[in-house]
């Protein structure tokens, strides 16, 4: 699979992706003509108001939803095939740790499901715990950890089986800003170290600009892409980069994009 990656170009390739949900109130167009190319090692943020389809698009990439039109390729195969090949780790808004398992046990869960040997499970759990700076917390139960630590554990769980893609759906949405800043820094560091491709859904402009190499601005009714911004910021990003001129310019462009998207929706 790794070899295939090197040959095949984009990690995610969406062309003309449509998704219509059939609801009791008639059909709802959740995604309309979404076209997007994401290369290996990119950090892509999806930003937009609620109902713009950013989470829905992520779920399509994860093959948790099936587009009703267009093509969506992940790692050069269909999204469904990519899911079966365990091509990505998905971090949900809530940590979703099992209360009856320790932190180690929770991280071990996908490894058990995927049939790793016991020795390899131990080795991987130890490694990702260190990666998210939770070494020493392996034997704790989720309720003994703060919300931020729980979310770190859930990131560790998504990293444990070495998928090349990390899908993150507002992972820090429920956390306070101080914790959030720290976790953003950690995610960047993680991304630098692991060279993973990250798709990150957020509704925070600073978060999107701080983290991303590419920002996808979306607007609702129907959910579609209104702007794709390639960030000129360097890969190494200290927190105070947020006071730089480039940062403010990008943030401004994102805000304009969001406003434009809202304007024709009303």
């Amino acid at each position: 699979m790794k070899d295939m990656l090197n040959i095949a170009g984009p990690v995610v390739e969406a062309s003309g992706v449509d998704l219509v949900f059939q609801t009791n109130d008639g059909p709802v167009q959740a995604l309309k003509d979404v076209n997007l190319l994401i290369g290996k090692g990119e950090f892509v943020s999806f930003i937009g108001p609620s109902g713009c389809g950013k989470t829905t698009f992520l779920r399509c990439v994860a093959a948790l939803e099936t587009p009703t039109g267009g093509t969506l390729m992940v790692n050069g195969m269909t999204a469904e095939a990519a899911r079966k090949a365990r091509a990505y780790g998905y971090v949900f808004q809530a940590a979703g740790l099992y209360p009856w398992r320790t932190i180690s046990g929770n991280i071990r869960l996908p490894l058990e499901i995927m049939g790793f040997s016991r020795a390899e499970q131990d080795e991987r759990v130890a490694r990702v715990l260190e990666l998210v700076e939770l070494g020493g917390f392996g034997n704790k139960y989720p309720w003994q950890l703060s919300g931020g630590m729980q979310q770190r554990a859930s990131i560790a769980r998504a990293l444990a089986f070495d998928a090349d893609i990390l899908l993150m759906d507002e992972p820090f949405g429920a956390l306070d800003e101080i914790v959030r800043d720290r976790l953003n820094e950690e995610v960047l560091r993680l991304w630098n170290r692991t060279q993973k491709t990250i798709l990150f859904v957020t509704h925070s402009i600073p978060e999107a600009v701080y983290l991303s190499t590419k920002i996808v601005v979306m607007s609702p009714r129907p959910g579609r892409i209104t702007d794709v911004i390639d960030s000129p910021l360097p890969r190494e990003r200290p927190l105070d980069i947020r006071d730089s001129r480039e940062f403010i310019e990008i943030a401004h462009r994102v805000r304009e994009g969001l406003r434009a998207g809202h304007g024709d929706g009303v």
Partner: protein, 284 residues
């Protein structure tokens, strides 16, 4: 402390009720003998009748003590002996009920057709009075050539105890939310893995809550099952003997033995639950 207050109140009410209900007999006797009794004498006389309408608490306690400690545990008069017989039937019924309840719940959660076909019957089964059904089960198991009297009792006991387990387990197995299920899908987990790793452990709190109801229902089932078996052994049989031979004390003692047994069983289930919860990482 509040528990003792309630017990105290119950004992007081019981004593006054005993006086009130047994008094007519005392006055009746006095009239026949042509003597008159004072209020004090009357109260004294209501406390120690051999066949009172309502025995006083200390009489029941004495009878209970006599039944438990007053004879060899192998004696037919021993409440320990009868209690043991009932306890065995309760246990078999409980295990059978849990097995049936869990098995049905699993199949209902797994197959939609089972929910539509089995669930209504499970509910209907609980609307049939067990006292009407119990004799039929006894007769049928006899007709089927089953010699062991334990079998129909266990069946009746299971009939009552499977239902709370079934209802709770269906709820428990369905308790994982969509996000948790999506998460397992992102790992391409199989249905079996989803069951063993998520649904089953998630259902455990529901399971243990239902066990407390189920164990009590099992005991009731076992006792009811003893009534139509010819009143040979078991607490239910003791109650029947007491009622048939006009021995209220025997009835009351058996009743209290059953209540104590039920309390002990629920306590036991509670201890098992605590142990299981601790093993599953719940806050102490």
């Amino acid at each position: 402390m509040p528990v003792f207050a309630v017990v105290g109140i119950i004992v007081c009410v019981w004593y006054s009720a005993a006086v009130w209900m047994n008094a007519p007999w005392v006055y009746d006797q006095a009239e026949r003998a042509g003597v008159s009794v004072s209020f004090g004498e009357m109260v004294g006389a209501t406390m120690g009748q051999a066949r009172p309408v309502l025995p006083a608490p200390h009489q029941v306690a004495a009878e209970l003590w006599k039944g438990v400690a007053g004879q060899a545990v192998t004696s037919k008069r021993s409440l320990v002996y009868h209690g043991w017989v009932t306890l065995q039937a309760t246990f078999y019924g409980f295990v059978l009920g849990i097995g049936l309840g869990v098995a049905l719940a699993v199949s209902i959660v797994r197959f939609r057709v089972m929910e539509l076909s089995v669930m209504p019957w499970a509910i209907i089964s609980q609307t049939i009075p067990i006292v009407a059904l119990a004799p039929m089960i006894v007769v049928l198991s006899n007709a089927a050539g089953v010699e062991d009297r334990m079998v129909p009792k266990a069946i009746i006991s299971a009939y009552l105890s499977f239902f709370p387990v079934l209802v709770s387990m269906v709820k428990g197995l369905r308790s994982p939310d969509q996000m948790q299920i999506d998460q397992l899908r992102t790992w391409y987990a199989s249905e079996a893995q989803m069951f063993w790793k998520l649904r089953l452990p998630a259902s455990m709190p529901y399971f243990f809550a239902s066990l407390k109801v189920a164990i009590a229902a099992s005991l009731v089932g076992a006792i009811v099952g003893e009534l139509p078996t010819g009143a040979i052994e078991g607490l239910g049989a003791r109650m029947l003997i007491g009622s048939q031979f006009g021995e209220p004390m025997i009835m009351w003692a058996a009743l209290f033995a059953a209540a104590i047994l039920a309390g002990g069983l629920i306590l036991l289930v509670g201890i098992v639950e605590r142990f299981a919860r601790a093993r599953m990482g719940a806050p102490a």
